[in-house]
């Protein structure tokens, strides 16, 4: 077993230690809350993510440094995204903000994740798996982006900046495929800088909303957005950068837990 795999197992174990109390807390919240849907489905989503981590650790122990042909951990990750999507559907619809399909946002989500899927296929060669597992990312990105626009989470200047940065990440990643040498290193570094700037922005914005009253929906949207973005970063990362991305994912789990708790408690007060 390589050192990176060992550190990855340790990092995933820490993530499990974060997930277990989160699940226990939300099982309790589900029992006493008036709004059952959000805590119940968030609990299911986190159980799915726990299974992702458990499967990943068990696989690394039993078959270290081997390629997983059909990754059940990715199926669980898919479950997490779908269950989070179910909560967002309800959350946005509940607040009367999910009335009709936003074609522009759907097109952007499809193109953005579509290019990501193409990159995953180039890197892994597993086209069927990458396409199937990419679809929930499109849907969740659509829900988050649509929610962000409808709830006016960001002003136009910030929205455009995030949009340009996210497209820059894609261009840099495409550049890494067609370039070599110094250009390759520059494109890789630039893509990570852009990706982590967006991550930091969504994370910070979420914390900002966390401290304000009656901002539960916006907090959840930004937390789920940060979580999805962190997951996308793990897909473009390898080796030690994968560990760093894993830490980012762990931090967004805590963020989502606090965001959903805030939304549920605000909903109970209404």
């Amino acid at each position: 077993m390589s050192t990176v795999t060992l550190v990855d197992i340790i990092q995933t174990s820490i993530q499990i230690m974060v997930l277990v109390p989160v699940i226990i807390m939300f099982v309790r919240i589900s029992g006493r809350s008036r709004n059952k849907l959000l805590p119940v489905f968030f609990t299911f989503a986190m159980i799915s993510f726990l299974l992702t981590d458990l499967y990943w650790i068990v696989y690394n122990f039993l078959r270290p440094d081997t390629r997983n042909p059909i990754a059940a951990n990715e199926i669980a990750e898919l479950a997490t995204l779908l269950l989070l999507s179910a909560t967002l559907e309800n959350l946005i619809r509940d607040k009367g903000r999910f009335n009709k399909l936003s074609v522009t946002i759907l097109a952007y989500s499809t193109v953005f994740i579509g290019v990501n899927i193409a990159l995953w296929i180039i890197w892994s060669g597993e086209w069927a798996k990458d396409i199937i597992f990419g679809i929930p990312y499109i849907y969740l990105m659509y829900l988050v982006s649509d929610g962000i626009v409808r709830t006016k989470v960001m002003d136009l200047k910030h929205s455009l900046t995030v949009l340009i940065l996210s497209l820059a990440v894609l261009f840099m990643l495409i550049a890494t495929i067609i370039s070599s040498g110094t250009l390759y290193v520059a494109a890789t570094v630039a893509s990570f800088i852009c990706a982590y700037v967006i991550f930091g922005y969504t994370f910070g914005k979420c914390i900002g909303f966390m401290t304000k009253p009656d901002e539960g929906v916006r907090t959840v949207l930004m937390a789920v957005g940060a979580f999805e973005w962190a997951l996308l970063i793990t897909y473009i990362s390898d080796g030690w950068m994968y560990i760093v991305a894993g830490v980012a994912v762990t931090s967004t789990i805590i963020l989502m837990c606090l965001a959903y708790k805030k939304e549920v408690s605000e909903d109970d007060l209404c």
């Binding site: 099982v27 309790r28 589900s30 029992g31 059952k36 849907l37 119940v40 489905f41 299911f44 989503a45 159980i47 799915s48 299974l51 992702t52 458990l54 499967y55 068990v58 696989y59 122990f61 039993l62 997983n68 042909p69 059909i70 059940a72 951990n73 199926i75 669980a76 898919l78 479950a79 997490t80 995204l81 779908l82 269950l83 999507s85 179910a86 559907e89 309800n90 929930p136 849907y139």
Partner: protein
């Protein structure tokens, strides 16, 4: 080689006869039990076909392909009854237990016939592990579906998410028991642990009453 079709006929006929004398919940359970056995047979056909076209070995196929096929097959009758007959939540839960128990029973019958039943300890472990695993996975899946409906969320994302959750649970079990030693022991304990945790959570937090 075992003749699985003959075995299913042999087990199903007495159960079908019981349906003449019983009805209501017991009748539904027996029907679901028979459905579970038929689904187990169909899942074995599909898994065998996918194993042959994927080029994976028997062990890899049981770890990576079987959980996906088996959970989807168990999911279909529950989804059918929920969407077509609009069955009540308690009926769906009863049926899910029946499907899971039928599936596990038929799988165990075939296993015993092909590998022998001379080692009582191993047979007990298999019964407690595989038997419970099939019931727990379909029960949790149905519970999620029932909750979705009770909370008025006709979400395909939620339905697919619940299915993915049960597939992963099954895959984790198959992966753990594929290697001898401590991983097998953990694998055999996993379904019982999940059943106990699920049972306690449901009773303590009144999950059955959610949305009612």
């Amino acid at each position: 080689m075992i003749y699985a079709e003959n075995i299913i006929i042999c087990i199903a006929i007495p159960l079908i006869i019981t349906l003449i004398f019983i009805g209501g919940g017991a009748g539904r359970f027996v029907k679901a039990f028979i459905t579970g056995m038929v689904i187990c047979l169909l899942a074995a056909y599909i898994s065998g076909y996918l194993e042959s076209i994927s080029g994976l070995g028997a062990e890899d196929a049981s770890i990576f392909i079987s959980p996906i096929v088996e959970e989807i097959m168990k999911y279909l009758p529950i989804l059918f009854f929920m969407l077509v007959f609009n069955s009540d939540g308690n009926v769906l839960i009863l049926m899910s237990i029946g499907v899971g128990a039928g599936f596990a029973t038929f799988e165990n019958c075939c296993y015993i016939l092909s590998s022998g039943a001379d080692n009582l300890t191993y047979i007990l472990i298999r019964g407690m592990a595989v038997g419970v695993m099939h019931i727990v996975s379909i029960f949790a899946l149905t519970l999620a579906l029932v909750l979705l409906r009770r909370l008025n969320v006709s979400s395909y994302a939620g339905m697919a998410g619940a299915l993915s959750l049960s597939i992963t649970f099954h895959s984790l079990y198959n992966l753990l028991v594929s290697e001898p030693g401590i991983s097998s022991v953990i694998g055999y304990c996993l379904p019982i642990a999940a059943a106990v945790t699920l049972g306690i959570s449901i009773k303590k937090e009144n999950f059955y009453q959610i949305g009612e």
